[in-house]
Symmetry: C2
Subunit: 210 residues, 2 copies
Amino acid sequence: MKNYTKQEIVEFEKRYRTNFVNSLWGFKSVNLVGTISAEGFTNLAIFSQVVHLGASPALVGLIVRPAETDRHTYTYMKEVGDFTLNHLHKDIIRQGHQTSARYAKGRSEFEATGLSPIWSDEIKSPYVKESRMRIGCKYVDEMTIKQNGTILVVGSVEEVWVDEEAVQKDGFINLESIGTITCSNLDSYHETKKLTRLSYAKPDQPLTEL
Amino acid sequence: MKNYTKQEIVEFEKRYRTNFVNSLWGFKSVNLVGTISAEGFTNLAIFSQVVHLGASPALVGLIVRPAETDRHTYTYMKEVGDFTLNHLHKDIIRQGHQTSARYAKGRSEFEATGLSPIWSDEIKSPYVKESRMRIGCKYVDEMTIKQNGTILVVGSVEEVWVDEEAVQKDGFINLESIGTITCSNLDSYHETKKLTRLSYAKPDQPLTEL
């Protein structure tokens, strides 16, 4: 195994370092975040920095970068108070990835990519019609990570839309059955194949497959 | 698609809700976190709540639950000041999952699961020898999410150990080549198959495959 020191990583060429460091954490969830401004401009952005914060109440964390050039998502979710998360699947990878282009304010990524907004009574922000798992969240709070100015947005789950067949008897959602994909780095998309699901672990007791 | 309201989710039976909500965010990275106490007790714990916070400097976030019964990982990383992240692959899924059992303090998950500690000069905490990607981090800071008492630990990357062949010319790390797997919910493990890697998106320009 090769050892990369902190100093070497700091001295990497910028683009190389971005790829390297973004690859370190393994495969990530990938969601399209839908928002709308107070004026009614819709926005859609691909996010791989989403993290589970709790099940009761159901809370999610979104990491928003401090770069100021394209923060429509962040601005709009604060303005209006909610946002949507929409899983990516095989057939909408290119449209999803294209939402990361820096469109001018007022130019909707829905229009630019051909993805369709769909609305719900609970949430003002648009969902992605093509997505097979959609989660409506309220903006609840935020915290700034002082080391680099990055923001953790805390959201609460207000509603979920998903194919009922995907929800198993114990509440587990079979993400493969709805084609949810995963990503690595900022640009590589992968489908998955289940290896195993294991029982709740207890000391000195054998695990069983669920 | 079926609609689940916030009220329905709140009223789910506890175990059902845990499965349902932990499934919402898609596939997640899965790492074994290695730590050591000031007294020299080693600890290993499986974590799916790891999030990229920045590339320059390289920062990672770990979500630590407020549940107090088993916080050896959190206690030790604060005590000693560092921790390791070790990717999971196919051959060590069962051992990795078994680390989530609630072992008494002083009983090392390394011993209990048969995974081997390996040491570096840079970091006091143990790495997992069987892992094919190992990241040494310093504990830098923490913030409490007041809505549920969950803690975001901020760590800085001090060194990386990885098969050199996995690191491509542009810094992208081919995680499939080192067998890194992904998880959904808290107990389901999946291998991946690359679908595509796409070029940097710009408005009104076609994407190309990398």
